[in-house]
């Protein structure tokens, strides 16, 4: 029997990770819950004045998304590292970056995509201008995969460490800055009724750049972590 083709291996691993996530579905809600909680803290801290909240809503939503994504990152490789399946993945006959991409995609589908569901609700609670809802969803759709992809490099570098958590945030958050800038600015611009084409195109560019480069870096980092 021949080994699976590359796309078959990709889909197989993606399905496996989704199945595993589904079997641990109680954990799936955690990033989402964190996202909502952080945003709830802001009106409590700075007061519930509608104009102010509407003004800072894009920034708050995206900072919370950044933190939620970062907290969930560790899950990409942690359990596979602990039980040795990661080792077997690196020894597989398939190119590791493709397998990495499958795992990151699964992780994003489970932790990044659900933010789409609650974001409009939170935007409404913060009084964000209704014209900006479409762009808000679009930035989450384009931005969160970039966060997962960049984050996977950081996790791969720290997965072997006993105290990787704080180091991980130090490695990953500075690299998140461009996504934060362009996504919140896109929402900002859209809220004031202007087109956000420039920002959205930049985010598309980030997404393609991250898609092409980060799996390679992650694979190299995983090999390093396993040796």
């Amino acid at each position: 029997m021949k080994r699976l083709s590359l796309s078959q291996a990709f889909w197989f691993l993606l399905r496996r990770d989704l199945l595993l996530a589904f079997r641990n579905r109680s954990e799936m809600a955690n990033p989402l819950l964190f996202f909502v909680l952080v945003i709830t803290l802001f009106p409590l801290a700075i007061g519930a004045e509608p104009n102010l909240l509407a003004r800072i809503a894009p920034g708050i939503i995206w900072v919370a998304a950044l933190l939620a994504s970062m907290l969930s990152l560790d899950g990409i490789f942690r359990s596979d590292f602990d039980d040795g399946t990661l080792e077997q993945m690196l020894l597989s006959a398939h190119p590791v970056p493709v397998l990495v991409l499958a795992k990151v995609t699964a992780h994003w589908l489970v932790t990044g995509l659900p933010l789409l569901l609650v974001a409009p609700l939170l935007a409404m609670m913060l009084g964000l201008d209704e014209d900006a809802y479409g762009i808000l969803l679009l930035t989450i759709l384009l931005g969160t995969p970039v966060l997962s992809l960049i984050g996977s490099i950081g996790v791969a570098l720290t997965v072997g460490l006993r105290k990787g958590g704080i180091i991980l945030s130090l490695l990953v958050l500075p690299l998140y800055v461009p996504v934060l800038i362009f996504s919140s600015s896109a929402i900002d611009v859209a809220a004031s009724g202007l087109p956000a084409t420039a920002q959205i195109s930049m985010m598309l560019a980030f997404l393609f750049l991250a898609l092409s480069l980060s799996p390679v870096a992650t694979a190299a980092a995983l090999k390093m972590s396993m040796s």
Binding site: I153, L157, T158, L171, L175, S185, A220, M224
Partner: protein, 248 residues
């Protein structure tokens, strides 16, 4: 020519050879550094005329600008070492990479401090979210990430490869971060005071500035050599050449 270079490259890669080479160059470099610094500071603080807008306070650029240049330059050195580490697995490149990080972080910190000191007379506060200061701050975080990651991994050969990957990833991201921040700044701040109109700078200011830039580069090499020598001794403490060095 190429053959000669390859041979030289390999010889430099051997720790005992580099140890001796760096040791013999240190005194000369120190002399060059002293001359450059004295000349640069004299030119900048005494000879150069005061600025017609900013008076005397602009003179901090003779430290601030070269430090900011160094902060970028050293990260580039680190990323280049990173490539050498990953491709040729050269031990010396690992050591140079990790020894550069604290020096780069210090220059970045210096650029931040001098920048905010300069900001006080210019903008009336120590900190404004100016594009260059902000990217410099993020660069500092990138440096601290490299140092932190290296410290967290016990096996040093593995740590060397980890920071090599991180330095290369950082290098690809630095221009993106830099231009994002610049673009963000133009959007939120309106026109801030441009710090320096580079093309129109007078030569009496330019010459000391370049002298200081050179002197900082030489300082980097001196500091790097010393750190690399110490790190090599530590890493190779069980090898024969270190033993012989301390017996004699």
């Amino acid at each position: 020519m190429f053959k000669w270079f390859v041979k030289w490259f390999h010889r430099m890669g051997s720790p005992p050879h580099f140890y001796r080479f760096a040791g013999s160059w240190l005194p000369w470099l120190t002399v060059v550094f002293t001359v450059l610094t004295v000349a640069g500071l004299y030119g900048g603080l005494v000879l150069a005329p005061p600025d017609y807008q900013q008076g005397e306070s602009y003179r901090i650029i003779f430290i601030h600008v070269p430090a900011a240049w160094m902060s970028m330059f050293i990260y580039m050195v680190m990323a280049s070492c990173g490539i050498i580490v990953l491709v040729w697995r050269m031990k010396l490149a690992e050591v140079v990479l990790i020894c550069s990080a604290p020096i780069g972080a210090s220059f970045t910190f210096l650029a931040l401090v001098t920048g905010s000191l300069w900001g006080k007379p210019m903008w009336g506060t120590y900190w404004v979210w100016d594009a260059r200061l902000t990217s410099e701050l993020i660069l500092l975080f990138l440096y601290l990430g490299v140092i932190g990651l290296y410290g967290a991994i016990d096996e040093k050969r593995v740590a060397g490869r980890a920071v090599a990957i991180l330095a290369i990833v950082g290098m690809i991201n630095i221009p993106i971060i830099h231009y994002s921040v610049e673009w963000w700044n133009s959007l939120h701040q309106g026109a801030t005071v441009t710090k320096m109109d580079k093309p129109s700078i007078h030569w009496t200011m330019l010459v000391p500035l370049l002298l200081m830039a050179l002197s900082f580069k030489v300082y980097f090499i001196i500091s790097l050599f010393q750190r690399v020598r110490a790190e090599l001794l530590h890493r190779e403490r069980n090898s024969r050449w270190v033993e012989e060095l301390f017996r004699s």
